[in-house]
């Protein structure tokens, strides 16, 4: 168990290192190698030669690539100074970079977006897991019934309709026609929990519809397969009620593999639900990424990319560790 734990953690650290190398490679090294001037990318075409040279010195763009990478990692771990003569720009650890275009550190910028994205992802996840699993179980138990067919048709719609379609439709119906909800917006939970809820409910439902569909289909298929397992027959042969057989023995086996998929989905969502944030005008990480791309603000794009990768790696690590708790065959095998 302990060695498994250590193995997973070491793995995650290595993955993160590889991720920083690749990201660094793309954002710093490739322009250097291909001969385009990265300094130009960082400050924009309109800059004069003096500020271009300043940027070059600050970012150390004339250093060998491994040295640049070393400074980059140092920034992540211990923070760094971008200096050109007396002109020093400080960036605190974990330094994901400095946006010379907007004159601010990337890390605090992104951190301020995390509550929005986290609220969106958490609320949607609660909804889709509950709805998806419940629908899947009921469909499996009433296989072939009207309910099953209706649920599976709905699920098919859910997986195949893109979010900008369902999102716009939801906005149109619930806000413009019915007027049931205020415009979607993010209010910090601690400021006003009710506004937090009403401002996010529509994006949650829309996002949950997409994911719940997949979870319903998976749960249904897993449950049908599980109900044919010998150990389910054993559970029945002991005289357990159908409720215990399905709700305990069946569900336990059905939910375990879902944990992995959930981790992936949740991690991806944390990395920024670009479309959803766009459709509902929420200023989270996805929105930030989009804005940065539009403005060609390389340090922010790099920061979002790295942060997304970190989320995914960390969530995967958590899933792996969780899995070893809930599946004894992994823990002891």
């Amino acid at each position: 168990m302990l060695s498994y734990l250590i193995r997973r953690i070491v793995n995650a650290v290595i993955t993160l290192l590889v991720v920083t190398m690749v990201t660094f490679g793309i954002f710093f090294a490739v322009p250097t190698i291909t001969g385009s001037d990265p300094a130009l990318l960082y400050i924009g075409k309109t800059a004069d030669q003096a500020s271009l040279d300043g940027i070059r010195t600050k970012l150390g763009l004339d250093d060998p690539i491994p040295v640049q990478y070393g400074k980059f990692i140092k920034g992540l771990v211990a923070g760094r100074d971008y200096a050109s003569g007396n002109d020093v720009t400080h960036c605190d650890a974990p330094c994901l970079g400095y946006s010379f275009k907007t004159e601010q550190e990337v890390t605090p910028l992104l951190l301020s977006d995390i509550p929005v994205t986290l609220s969106l992802a958490l609320g949607a996840a609660v909804l889709w897991v509950l709805i998806g699993v419940a629908t899947g179980v009921l469909s499996a138990l009433r296989r072939g019934s009207f309910l099953d067919r209706a649920a599976m048709t709905g699920a098919l719609a859910g997986v195949s309709l893109p979010i900008y379609f369902t999102g716009q439709l939801a906005l149109l119906i619930f806000i413009h026609w019915l007027g049931w909800l205020p415009d979607t917006a993010y209010t910090p939970f601690l400021e006003n929990p009710a506004s937090w809820f009403t401002g996010l409910i529509l994006p949650w439902v829309t996002l949950a519809f997409l994911f719940a569909a997949t979870y319903a289909r998976l749960t249904r298929a897993n449950m049908l397969e599980t109900l044919n397992e010998d150990y389910i027959r054993t559970a029945r042969s002991k005289g357990l009620t159908e409720r215990t057989v399905i709700g305990k023995h069946g569900l336990r086996a059905v939910l375990t593999p879902l944990v992995t998929i959930f981790g992936l989905d949740f991690g991806t969502l944390l990395a920024g639900a670009i479309l959803t944030e766009q459709v509902f005008n929420l200023r989270g990480l996805g929105y930030q990424a989009l804005t940065a791309i539009r403005q060609n603000d390389l340090p922010v794009i790099l920061g979002v990319t790295l942060l997304a990768a970190i989320f995914i790696v960390v969530i995967n690590l958590i899933v792996d560790l969780l899995y070893s708790v809930i599946d004894p065959r992994v823990r002891l095998g």
Partner: protein, 346 residues
């Protein structure tokens, strides 16, 4: 075998049991018109090759086809004067694991991968003993594990099925089945995957526990040796039908069905060289969707033509008193063939 005039039924009496499965390929006639009985303290052996309907028969007794929407069960099953085919799901559920219990083929897949062996036994005990605390149930479970010969039961209580060896796993399955002192125990090939020494230990264990509790036991097996050793009565099944039924001694010393002769020929014998020991019955088992006309065994039976055409056209009924057989061959002829042609080669 039929109900007696005094009105007392055997402890378990199965009458005309028929089990069909509707599948995409057609209707599987898995068990047809099976009738048999077992008394308390007695052991009934059921033998027959793979697919002959042994497991389906025992699952029917426990009412475990009820949750399969494609299964149709007909006939009567009387357990201690209660009819089970027409009983409610809830009534049958209460008997399962309590008055009647089953040890399954392949204990690895029969145990839940995510629950400890102990937890699975505790659960079975508590469902039939309402109000028993977890601690009492745990003590009872550890007693049972010790009783079936599992060393260090406190430790093994907290382990999972896949951590057990084959033999230990089967013992744990037995403990699970016996935890509520069932009066009817069905053991479905309890020793198939085990090596010979462990096999013998498991069979001894079942016999000892039966002696202790006076339960009725149904022992399902491919292995006639097991039946010869343990059973009071024997059923031989072929293609979902009982083709020979009687006291074990009679069936072994005067077997009357050509298929049983074939099975006896495939029985391992220690006094022969390994190479000669096993001669399985030639040919393949019949399709249960399209049973052959007449006697289902005729495509594989060396005596099919001996008695005119009846074997090919007419289904032989199970006839006889205590020792009954389903074969068109006349009684004298069967006796003669067995003693002159079959027995010398066994």
């Amino acid at each position: 075998m039929s109900s007696t005039t005094t009105g007392t039924r055997p402890f378990l009496e199965v009458k005309d049991l028929t089990v069909r499965f509707e599948t995409d390929d057609g209707i599987v006639q898995a068990v047809s018109n099976s009738s048999f009985a077992v008394e308390r303290g007695k052991t009934l052996g059921i033998v027959g090759e793979s697919g002959s309907g042994k497991s389906v028969t025992s699952l029917a007794v426990l009412g475990l086809h009820r949750t399969r929407s494609n299964a149709k069960v007909a006939g009567e099953i009387w357990l201690d004067d209660q009819e089970l085919v027409t009983a409610t799901d809830e009534d049958v559920r209460k008997l399962r694991g309590g008055k009647m219990a089953m040890i399954f083929q392949d204990p690895l897949s029969a145990m839940h991968p995510y629950y400890t062996v102990g937890a699975q036994i505790v659960e079975g005990y508590r469902v039939h003993h309402k109000g028993v605390s977890k601690k009492e149930a745990r003590t009872r479970t550890i007693d049972m594990l010790a009783r079936v010969g599992i060393p260090q039961p406190e430790k093994r209580f907290n382990e999972y099925g896949h951590q057990f060896s084959g033999g230990m796993r089967q013992r744990a399955m037995i403990a699970m089945a016996l935890v509520n002192d069932p009066q009817l125990l069905i053991a479905d090939e309890p020793t198939t995957a085990l090596d010979v020494t462990v096999q013998a230990q498991i069979l001894d264990l079942i016999r000892d526990l039966q002696d202790e509790f006076g339960s009725a036991v149904i022992m399902i097996t491919h292995d006639l040796g097991v039946v010869a050793e343990l059973a009071d009565d024997v059923l031989v099944m072929y293609g979902g039908k009982i083709i020979e039924r009687g006291p074990a001694a009679d069936v072994f010393h005067e077997p009357q069905h050509p298929y049983t002769w074939g099975l006896l020929g495939s029985m391992p014998r220690l006094d022969r060289d390994v190479r000669d020991r096993l001669t399985p019955v030639k040919g393949t088992p019949p399709s249960l969707i399209n049973l052959p006309d007449g006697c289902a065994f005729h495509p594989r039976c060396p005596y099919a033509g001996r008695n005119g055409n009846r074997s090919f056209t007419e289904v032989p009924e199970l006839r006889g008193g205590v020792h009954a057989v389903a074969c068109h061959l006349p009684a004298e002829e069967k006796r003669r063939i067995f003693h002159e042609e079959v027995a010398p080669n066994l």
